[in-house]
């Protein structure tokens, strides 16, 4: 990469950069060659960084007023809402921020699925991303426990009990997680500690995620390897910075709408009732972003197998680069995959819907079909499709379809025989 030869202009800059090459890093980040055809689906990386920073800053402030004790947690949250200056605003940003974070991460993941960004040479970026996603779920779950409402308490009970499905040691692990014989004060204090820790682990992984990204560079909507820098690239600053900034503004409008107009619509009314270990709410549902996995858990009539199915649904994503056998990255050139992609999107949305409904009758049947299809997509359709699908000719460069008119069939055929890496 060209920026390795970077020399600061000022004397002090040179002196400093020789001792700690921060300016070289800054130069790499601004000059970083980016494909010129990135569309708005590519802006969610930046949006996610914004979400993480927002959660860390608002969380830090909330921690100044929150009290992690079973007898005081619920009241301290109400104290934040009613007494603390702008406490309501900060808490609503934090609570809705979690939902916005997941909204953005799902778009980010599905963008990757559509354009094949997880394929070689970007597998490590993808796997780090999945680890971040797992940590996000852990952080969101533990954060939801902290207000110590009814949903907090029973959500914590149900989720920690998932570990009791492990043969032999399960019960011991659950007691260990709880620090007692039920979810209680020791559970709350450790969840608070971990909820505080995890965002910083995510921050570290985000650095690795971006570092790994900057080795091969961004994938792009056409999904072909490009020369960097070349006619196909633009420098990150100002082109992508402006585009990301504009998308972020649009995203913040949606964010602000939730915070100011419907701050509780994504939460659950039962969580404004203080935790009561003697009464389970009639209908326990997790937050919306965990519903598809919850539907998978409930669709299996066996406890251990249900937990295994739910975890597999997440971990299967980590091996996706090896399940998808197609060499073509972008769905633009994969007519069949494109259709299966949208079926998968619909399948996940259906799972999310039935996850919110009671697990009985027709809902249970739909959940079972949708769960089966989810695994079918990854374990059968994707591996087979790579061999069977007749893909469309891919262009030689990003500029070719624009400047050279429609793709030259002869060149494209020739290119097919060369096989893109």
């Amino acid at each position: 990469m060209s920026d390795h030869q970077y020399t600061p202009e000022s004397k002090f800059g040179k002196w400093f950069n020789d001792r700690l090459p921060l300016l070289t890093l800054a130069n790499h980040l601004t000059d970083y060659p980016t494909p010129k055809n990135l569309n708005y689906w590519w802006t969610f990386g930046g949006i996610l960084t914004f979400c993480l920073i927002t959660q860390i800053v608002t969380g830090l402030v909330l921690a100044m007023h929150y009290i992690a004790h079973a007898d005081m947690a619920f009241d301290s949250v109400e104290h934040i809402m009613r007494d603390v200056n702008y406490g309501w605003l900060i808490r609503y940003i934090h609570a809705n921020g979690a939902s916005m974070f997941f909204l953005a991460v799902y778009i980010h993941i599905f963008r990757s699925l559509f354009y094949g960004s997880y394929k070689a040479p970007r597998e490590i970026i993808w796997i780090i991303g999945i680890i971040i996603y797992l940590l996000m779920m852990a952080a969101a779950f533990m954060g939801y426990v902290l207000p110590w409402g009814q949903m907090s308490f029973w959500g914590a009970t149900v989720i920690t009990n998932l570990f009791s499905a492990i043969p032999l040691v399960g019960e011991g692990i659950v007691t260990w997680l709880w620090g007692g014989y039920s979810v209680d004060n020791p559970t709350l204090t450790r969840f608070f500690t971990l909820h505080y820790l995890i965002p910083f682990l995510i921050l570290g992984l985000v650095v690795l995620h971006i570092w790994a990204l900057h080795v091969p560079g961004n994938n792009n909507p056409v999904g072909i390897d490009i020369k960097k820098p070349s006619k196909d690239t633009v420098p990150f600053h100002p082109y992508i910075v402006i585009k990301d900034g504009f998308a972020l503004l649009m995203f913040m409008i949606v964010f602000a709408f939730f915070v100011f107009y419907t701050p509780n619509i994504l939460g659950h009314a039962d969580n404004y009732i203080e935790a009561d270990p003697l009464v389970t709410p009639a209908h326990i549902v997790p937050e919306w972003y965990l519903l598809p996995f919850y539907a998978i858990l409930r669709s299996v009539p066996d406890k251990l197998l249900g937990v295994v199915a739910m975890l597999s649904a997440i971990f299967i994503l980590a091996v996706l680069p090896w399940l998808d056998t197609s060499k073509i990255r972008s769905a633009v050139f994969r007519p069949l995959y494109r259709q299966f992609y949208w079926i998968l999107v619909a399948d996940v949305l259906i799972l999310g819907y039935v996850g919110a409904m009671p697990a009985e009758g027709l809902y249970l049947l739909i959940a079972r079909v949708a769960t089966a299809y989810y695994f079918l997509h990854f374990l059968v359709i994707l591996p087979v499709l790579g061999f069977k699908e007749k893909t469309l000719p891919i262009p030689l460069s990003i500029t070719e379809p624009v400047l050279g008119g429609s793709p030259n069939l002869a060149t494209a055929k020739n290119k097919e025989s060369l096989k893109i890496k």
Binding site: W154, T157, V158, T160, N161, L162, S164, T175, W176, L177, W178, G179, G180, Y181, S182, V183, D184, P186, R190, P277, L278, V279, T280, P281, A282, H283, I284, R298, V300, P301, D302, K303, L304, G306, P358, A359, E360
Partner: protein
């Protein structure tokens, strides 16, 4: 080095690794074990309940170790219903005689063995308990009959201190 021979240095390496592993283990264990139930939690391990006011056909719920315990005074009909079930019909075969030593009193943890919710009294297909979370049905002996729960509701250790008092734990 064509010849493979254990020398003094190899021995020192192995010994060092072994001591190091023991040291790391001994350091990590307190970090893990501190999360287990502490002395104050364990100290609350038993509770005594006065059941003189419980009429037949009624259930009271008491808190023991942070968990609800159902104490049901069963009617004669319920007892005969519970005792007439054949063990082959059960997902987790346990006779009612084993679960309720004194047939009139059923004392059990009011915790669904699926994922830990509190089942509702006098509900479900078997007139026992029904867990609203994921739809497990229990009979009047607290045995799982239908739904995802793997086992019957647990019977805690308890004894009658006198005719009116049950000590749980």
């Amino acid at each position: 080095m064509s010849e493979k021979k254990t020398n003094r240095r190899d021995f020192l390496f192995t010994a060092t690794y072994a001591v190091g592993a023991v040291g790391v283990g001994a350091t990590i264990w307190p970090m893990i074990d501190q999360m287990n139930p502490d002395a104050s939690v364990k100290a609350l391990a038993s509770t005594e309940v006065d059941v003189s006011a419980v009429n037949p056909g009624k259930t009271i719920t008491v808190l023991w170790r942070g968990k609800p315990v159902f104490i049901r005074r069963r009617t004669q009909d319920e007892i005969s219903e519970a005792r007439s079930v054949k063990l082959e019909e059960l997902k987790h075969p346990e006779s009612d005689e084993d679960r309720a030593k004194n047939p009139e009193w059923l004392v059990m943890l009011g915790v669904c063995t699926h994922l830990g919710c509190v089942p509702l009294d006098q509900k479900g297909d078997y007139n026992g308990w029904f867990c609203p979370c994921h739809g497990s049905h229990y009979d009047i002996s607290g045995r799982i009959r239908k739904g995802p729960a793997p086992t019957n509701m647990e019977i805690p250790k308890y004894e009658f201190v006198n005719a009116n008092t049950i000590k749980i734990g």
